[in-house]
C-alpha cells in the first residue's frame, strides 16, 4: 500500500481470509457471563428450595393446624400453630400504613405531575429520595421514641409501649415514596393531548387532574398501592421495634401485635437449633411471606404493564 499508510505490518494482508472458526476465547467469555447472569436465577431457586425444604418438615408436623388453630404460640408448652394472628397483625399494621401512605403519596404524585414547577420538583424529588434511603431501623426508633409517646400516649391517652398504631403510622411514611413515585410515573405517562383536550373545553386544573389524568393513570396507581402493600408486608424492623411480639387476633390498633416478619426475626434471634419446630417455623413463615409478596408483585406488574401498554 502506498501513500498514507502505516509502516507497520498490515493485519493480515490481502490474501486468504483465514479459515478460522468462531474464536474460542469469545465463547469462553460468553459462558462466563452467562454463569454470572445465572446466579440471579440460582438465587431464586435457592430461596424457594430453602423455604420449601424446612417448611415441609414444619407442615409435616403441624399440618392443617396452620389454618385451623387460632393462636400462634409454637414455642409454648401447649403449642398452637395458627397463622391468623400473625396475618392479622401484618395486615392491620400494613393497613394503617396504607391509610397514611396513599393520600400522602397520591397527593404528592398529583402535585408533582400537574402543578409543580421545575424548581419545586428539584426540591421535592430529593426529599423523596432521602425518605427512600432512610434505614428502617431508624424508622423503628422514630416510632418507639416519638410516635408512641406523643401520639399514642399523649394524644390517645393509652399507656402502652408496643402497639400497632405507631408502627402503622411510621410504616406509612416509609411506604409513601413508593406510592408517590410509581403513581407519578403513571401520571406523567398520560399523553399531554388528553390534558389539552380537556383544557380546551374549559376544564380547570383541578378537574383535569381528578377527572382526566387520575382515571387515565389508574392502572399505575393500583400498581403503586399494591407494591406499597407488598413492601409493608415484608417490612421487619419497624414492626419489630414498635409493635411488640404478642400475636393477637384483635383489631385494636393500640394493642401490641406481632407480624410474620417480626416473629421470624425474633425466632431467629432466639435459640432454635436446626430440626426444632422453632427453626422450621422461620421457614414456614418465610414461605408464607414469600408467596404473599410474590402474588402482590405479579398483580402489580400486570397493572404496570397495562398502563405502559396503553400509552407507549
Amino acid at each position: 500500500m502506498e501513500a498514507a499508510t502505516a509502516k507497520g505490518a498490515s493485519p493480515g494482508g490481502f490474501g486468504p481470509l483465514g479459515k478460522r472458526r468462531r474464536r474460542p476465547g469469545e465463547e469462553v467469555i460468553r459462558v462466563l457471563l452467562f454463569v454470572a447472569a445465572a446466579i440471579s436465577v440460582l438465587t431464586t431457586i435457592g430461596i424457594v428450595f430453602a423455604l420449601v425444604e424446612e417448611s415441609v418438615s414444619f407442615f409435616g408436623e403441624v399440618g392443617t393446624r396452620f389454618f385451623t388453630d387460632t393462636e400462634w404460640t409454637p414455642l409454648f408448652q401447649d403449642p398452637e400453630y395458627g397463622i391468623w394472628p400473625l396475618l392479622n397483625g401484618t395486615f392491620l399494621i400494613t393497613g394503617i400504613g396504607i391509610l397514611v401512605a396513599v393520600p400522602l403519596g397520591l397527593g404528592t404524585a398529583v402535585y408533582l405531575s400537574e402543578y409543580a414547577t421545575p424548581r419545586v420538583r428539584k426540591i421535592v424529588k430529593p426529599i423523596i429520595e432521602v425518605l427512600v434511603g432512610v434505614p428502617t431501623v431508624v424508622f423503628g426508633y422514630f416510632a418507639l421514641t416519638l410516635v408512641t409517646p406523643i401520639i399514642v400516649q399523649d394524644l390517645f391517652g393509652v399507656q402502652v409501649q408496643f402497639n400497632a398504631l405507631s408502627a402503622g403510622l411510621v410504616m406509612g411514611i416509609m411506604i409513601m415514596p413508593t406510592i408517590a413515585s410509581i403513581s407519578e410515573d403513571a401520571m406523567s405517562a398520560v399523553p399531554q393531548g388528553l390534558r389539552e383536550g380537556a383544557y380546551g373545553l374549559g376544564a380547570t386544573k383541578r378537574q383535569v387532574a381528578t377527572k382526566v389524568v387520575f382515571p387515565a393513570a389508574i392502572s399505575g396507581v393500583v400498581a403503586a398501592i399494591v407494591l406499597g402493600i407488598s413492601r409493608g408486608i415484608g417490612e421487619t424492623m419497624i414492626v419489630l421495634i414498635a409493635a411488640g411480639l404478642a400475636p393477637s387476633n384483635g383489631l385494636n390498633p393500640v394493642d401490641p401485635h406481632a407480624t410474620i416478619t417480626g416473629f421470624m426475626a425474633a425466632t431467629a434471634k432466639g435459640d432454635n437449633p436446626a430440626g426444632t419446630i422453632g427453626y422450621q417455623s422461620i421457614f414456614a413463615l418465610g414461605l408464607t411471606l414469600f408467596v404473599l409478596t410474590l402474588v402482590m408483585n405479579m398483580i402489580a406488574i400486570r397493572f404496570v404493564r397495562k398502563y405502559r401498554q396503553v400509552y407507549e
Binding site: 507497520g8 486468504p16 468462531r22
Partner: protein, 303 residues
Amino acid sequence: MIRLNGRAVTDPERAQEHERAVPGIDLGETVAETHPAGARTVTSREAVFKLEDVTVSYGGKPAVAEVSMDIYRNAITAIIGPSGCGKSTLIRCLNRMNDLIPSATVDGRVLYHEQDIYDEQVDPVEVRKRIGMVFQKPNPFPKSIYDNIAFGPRILGMDGNMDEIVENALHGAALWDEVKDRLDANAFGMSGGQQQRLCIARALAVNPDVILMDEPCSALDPISTGKIEDLMLELKEGYSIVIVTHNMQQAARVSDLTAFLIVKLDAEERHRQGRLVEYDATETIFTNPSDQRTEDYVTGKVG
C-alpha cells in the same frame, strides 16, 4: 462492456464511446462472455468485490434483491438511489456489518478477491480488518484523538511504532496539521467535519484494502464535505472506495463508477425491495444512461 443487470451492451460503437468517456479507467480489451445472468467484463482493473445475486433480507423480507456487480480496485464506486432502495443495506454486506442485526440474512455470494466472505468458515472479524467503514454520523470513541486512532492497531496487534502509525493515519486523512498539537484532547471536542476525518484516519490506521463510506458527508456542512471529497480522490490511489450517497452531485463529482438502485414492489406486490437498475461509468450514468429510470432520477424528474 460493463455488466448491466440482465442487459448487455453489445453495440461496438457504444463500447468505444465507453472507452473514451470514462476518465481514469482503462477498460482495455473488452471481451464479451455470454453468461446466463448477463455479460461479464474483463478489464485491466482487478475486481476487488464480485457480488453475485446478493439479496439481503430482514426477518425473511428482502430489503435489497438480486444485486450483481463487480467493484474495482483503486476506483471510487458510488451507490445512489432514492430512500429505501437498500443502499446502506447493500454496502453493509461488504464488511458483514449486517451480522450485527439478528434478523438479517444474506443470500447470494459476495466474493472478495475470489473468496466468498459469507462462507461458513470465514470469521467476520477477519473480514472487517481488511474492509474498513466510515459511517453517516461521525462516531469517534469517547477517548483522545490519539487513542481513537491507536485503538484499531492496538487490538489488532499491529507491530510498529504507534506514534508513527497515528501520524501517518492523520496525514492520510488530511487532519495532521489541525490536530498535531492536541493529540491528547478528547475527540468529542472536534467539529463534525474533523470528527469524520478522524473516523477516516481511524479506518486508515489498520491498513485496510477497501474503505466503505455510508453517506459520509450527509451530516456535515458544505466546506467539510468538500474537504472530504478531496480526500477521497487522494485516497483512491491507495485504496478501493465504495461510497453510498443520496447526493447525486457528489456521486458525479468524485466517483468513477456509479450503481443506481430503485425501490420496487416485489413479485407479489406486497413488499418494497431495492433493486439494481444500472451500473456503469459515472459519466455514462449521468450523461447517457441506458435505462429510462436512471435518466429520470439523475435529471431530477423523480427522486
